[in-house]
């Protein structure tokens, strides 16, 4: 027994444990060195002057003679032992390339599995940076990467898992201007985006270039999954020729999402990509998987086949690369490609005040009523003191309550009418509410520009945002 530098008692067992943990770390480092050695060998004699062809399948000339290197046999042994997968499917994987568009909730697990399983080359497209409120579901990113590019973060995680896979970083938004150039180099596409125009754009691009599309989506407590444009199956437009109304397109940032739900769908996307790349099983084409987390139910339904009327892939469709480049997906879907939230301009300037102005009014003690029109479960997260929660959806039913509150204020200070202010999360619903209040005769109602987000930004930096 001995004392270590911190004064704690150290036993022989402690030392043995430390040795064994260091031995383990040593073994891992050695594994990594041998994997890198194998990768280096594949560059042959061109010592250091390797080509920068991004889409090149992984090294190992052995592949082409139908054999895997010793390191690969060891790394992928559990795949090779599967009678229905085996050496052939693994060799197919190693030769294939997959493009994952979106390194968020769906892309995180999809990328981790695609890198781990030995897909030859994995491309990652994203333009966002990692934020703290991503980490509950975007499990590829870690705290150390907050504020940094999601693509860099995801690429580092993938390389950490499998240094033999080629990881290609596309730190840009996927748009018609770069879509063809990026996608052309890959065999399979995974749509892990979060908005409607991207979904139409990615599907059309896959039709133009003839790539199978593994499409997943998740929101709240539900997820959906299918494979488009595969083996004569339908494309996204075959199923949804007309975009949905914008009011039907909820976003995770507004409606919420249970982290594990996109995780499950992202894992299933990796699975479908592996089946297509490995040429095994029956990919989910012509069928759609619907996942309901709350009731723990998975339903697989049969969907229509390729539509002869489809404007992208139908009999008379003539979607060319040029037409694709010129198509305005934002206009078609009435939705911006960027995920930045809507900034509504509904009211005239005289019906609006800034959060700083409201702060002054409050500090001076001017009599007023503050109505918070967010849904009750938002109000529960955080609210301003002395605000009255009347959700936008039940505003009409809340009118008597507003009148009563105004009366009470009036009784306290008879000299003048008290003012009516309306706040919400970002300043959109508050404008809709004020517009409605004006029509109902509450002509003095004003909205607080930018809502609680601007309050946190301009008045009280300690006020929580979500």
């Amino acid at each position: 027994m001995a004392m270590d530098s911190n004064g704690a008692v150290e036993t022989a067992a402690d030392v043995r444990r430390e040795i064994s943990s260091l031995e383990k770390a040593k073994a891992q480092i050695e594994d990594r060195i041998s994997a890198l050695q194998a990768r280096l060998n594949s560059y042959g004699l061109e010592d250091g002057s390797e080509k920068t062809n991004c889409s090149a399948p992984p090294p190992a000339e052995d592949l082409f003679s139908g054999k895997l290197s010793a390191d690969m046999i060891y790394r992928y042994s559990r795949h090779l032992l599967l009678p229905s997968f085996g050496v052939d499917a693994q060799a197919n994987l190693l030769k294939s390339s997959v493009l994952v568009i979106g390194a968020g909730g769906l892309g995180s697990p999809a990328l981790l599995y695609l890198a781990a399983c030995g897909v030859g080359s994995v491309g990652i497209v994203d333009n966002d940076v990692v934020e703290l409120n991503n980490l509950h579901r975007q499990i590829i990113h870690s705290e150390a990467y907050i504020g940094r590019s999601k693509v860099e973060s995801a690429a580092a995680a993938c390389r950490g898992i499998n240094s033999t896979v080629q990881i290609v970083e596309h730190k840009e938004a996927f748009r018609t201007s770069n879509a063809l150039e990026i996608m052309r180099k890959y065999d399979i596409v995974v749509d892990a985006t979060d908005n409607v125009p991207s979904r139409y754009m990615i599907s059309d691009c896959c039709v133009v270039l003839g790539k199978p599309l593994i499409s997943g989506a998740a929101l709240g407590l539900e997820g959906q999954l299918t494979v488009y444009n595969y083996n004569g199956g339908p494309c996204y437009r075959c199923l949804f020729p007309t975009p949905p109304p914008t009011t039907a397109c909820q976003r995770c940032a507004d409606s919420g999402v249970l982290g594990v739900v996109p995780g499950i769908i992202g894992c299933l996307q990796a699975l479908e990509a592996i089946k297509v790349a490995g040429a095994v099983g029956e990919p989910l084409s012509g069928r759609m998987l619907l996942f309901d987390a709350l009731s723990a139910r998975i339903r697989v339904v049969k969907i229509r086949g390729r539509s002869s009327q489809c404007e992208a892939c139908g009999e008379n469709a003539t979607l060319t690369e040029q037409q694709f480049c010129n198509f305005d997906y934002e206009k078609f879907t009435q939705t911006p490609l960027s995920t930045s939230p809507l900034k509504l301009q509904l009211l005239p300037p005289e019906a609006r005040i800034t959060s700083k102005e409201y702060n002054e009014i409050n500090k001076k003690g001017e009599p007023h009523i503050l109505i918070d029109v967010r849904p009750a479960h938002h109000y529960k997260i955080i609210s301003l003191p002395n605000s009255l929660n009347i959700p936008l959806g039940s505003l009409e039913g809340g009118l008597p309550e507003i009148s009563a509150a105004l009366e009470v204020n009036k009784a306290g200070d008879n000299s003048r009418d008290s003012s009516l202010y309306v706040i919400c999360r970002r300043g959109n619903d508050s404008q809709r509410a004020v517009d409605c209040l004006h029509k109902m005769g509450f002509t003095s109602a004003k909205d607080i520009i930018g809502g609680l987000e601007s309050w946190a930004h301009d008045v009280d930096p300690k006020f929580p945002t979500y």
């Binding site: 929101l219 007309t242 949905p244 109304p245 759609m288 619907l290 339904v301 049969k302 229509r304």
Partner: protein, 99 residues
């Protein structure tokens, strides 16, 4: 005619957040048949509590809603003309776009 109706992908919010409805719908007098067209108008009248435009457009479902009759896309069974039978399960699901 007893049917099971399910709403998902956010459409349940239009029916008091209830996803599964066990219902009894009377067939139309002529031919004693119940088509999807009849069922849609019945649903609109009896189950949809708010924003009907989020469920229907014209006499059919709005763009972005998939209709499944016994786990099969209604495109494959005749859409509005699909004839329903006792104990059929009809699912209305809004496509999701989040990720």
């Amino acid at each position: 005619m007893r049917l099971t109706l399910e709403f998902g992908g956010g459409l349940e919010l239009l029916c008091n957040s209830v996803k599964i409805h066990e219902v009894n719908v009377d067939p139309e007098a002529e031919g004693n048949k119940l088509t999807m067209k009849n069922l849609l108008s019945w649903v609109r009248t009896n189950l949809i509590k708010e924003r009907p435009e989020m469920f229907m457009k014209g006499d059919t479902v709005r763009p972005g809603v998939l209709v499944l009759v016994n786990d099969c896309d209604w495109e494959l069974s005749g859409q509005l003309e699909t004839v329903l039978e006792e104990k059929d399960v009809v699912v209305f699901i809004s496509t999701l776009h989040g990720g």
